[in-house]
Symmetry: C2
């Protein structure tokens, strides 16, 4: 049981690593291949939720970056039970936008996965930064763990 769960966690970690690598390489097709058909995204950017799993939105977002996009995970926690898993982590996104702005953004990531036909697929991603409740309503893009 323990070994099986460890093996499952390894398989799930590999999926997350592959997604990060695919984002880094701006390979939208590879990213989307990890999504389940009923994938629901709560993204860093509006709208509140997206249920689109086609590659177009990703390609448009990739085109706003000059060079590679880095995604590093810290404090990754993976909890798996049979065919369902929840992962939480603090992620750092790094790179340079096409307008020259350098990005070093820490954000929270919650990922839900289901094993479908023997393969772990991402059914849900929730990525966010908090916001300052000092009346400014500024997104807290300057935090670090």
């Amino acid at each position: 049981m323990t070994d099986q769960t460890a093996t499952e966690r390894d398989a799930i970690r590999t999926v997350l690593d592959n997604v990060s690598r695919a984002i880094g390489a701006k390979d939208a097709k590879a990213v989307v291949s990890h999504y389940a058909p009923d994938y629901v995204l709560y993204s860093l950017a509006p709208p509140l939720q997206s249920i689109v799993t086609d590659e177009r939105a990703l390609v448009e977002w990739f085109d706003t970056w000059r060079g590679p996009i880095g995604i590093a995970r810290r404090e990754l926690s993976i909890t798996a039970e049979r065919d369902l898993a929840i992962c939480t982590s603090l992620n750092q996104m790094t790179g340079t936008k096409t307008d020259g702005v350098k990005v070093h953004l820490w954000y929270r990531a919650t990922v839900g996965l289901r094993r479908i036909d023997g393969r772990w697929k991402i059914v849900h991603e929730h990525e966010s930064v908090p916001f300052y409740m000092d009346g400014s309503f500024r997104a807290a893009v300057d935090l670090a763990p």
Copy 2:
């Protein structure tokens, strides 16, 4: 199996309803009673994450509201597998702050639960709004589903 899962989903929905009701009544002790010992919160407000499950932070937050706090869930999805569950929903928080500001805030909520000693406990909550990527870095507190 189907019935069992439906029963589990009902039990989980009841936990979420009870938490919303406890927040509405500003009953910090009742809210915290639903948290697992290893509860991790990604909150609307900084910091990036909180692992504190004591009632003090909740009481301080409750004290910033005049009268009751409303939490309504929409598009609630519950996926349960044995002793693990993931819930997603779009929530609306309503009420009046002590400075007279009226709040009508839609946000995204992801909740992870584990069944411990036969009772569903919340191990993780991730609550957020997206932010505008137009250079303003404003939190998108004006969205609605």
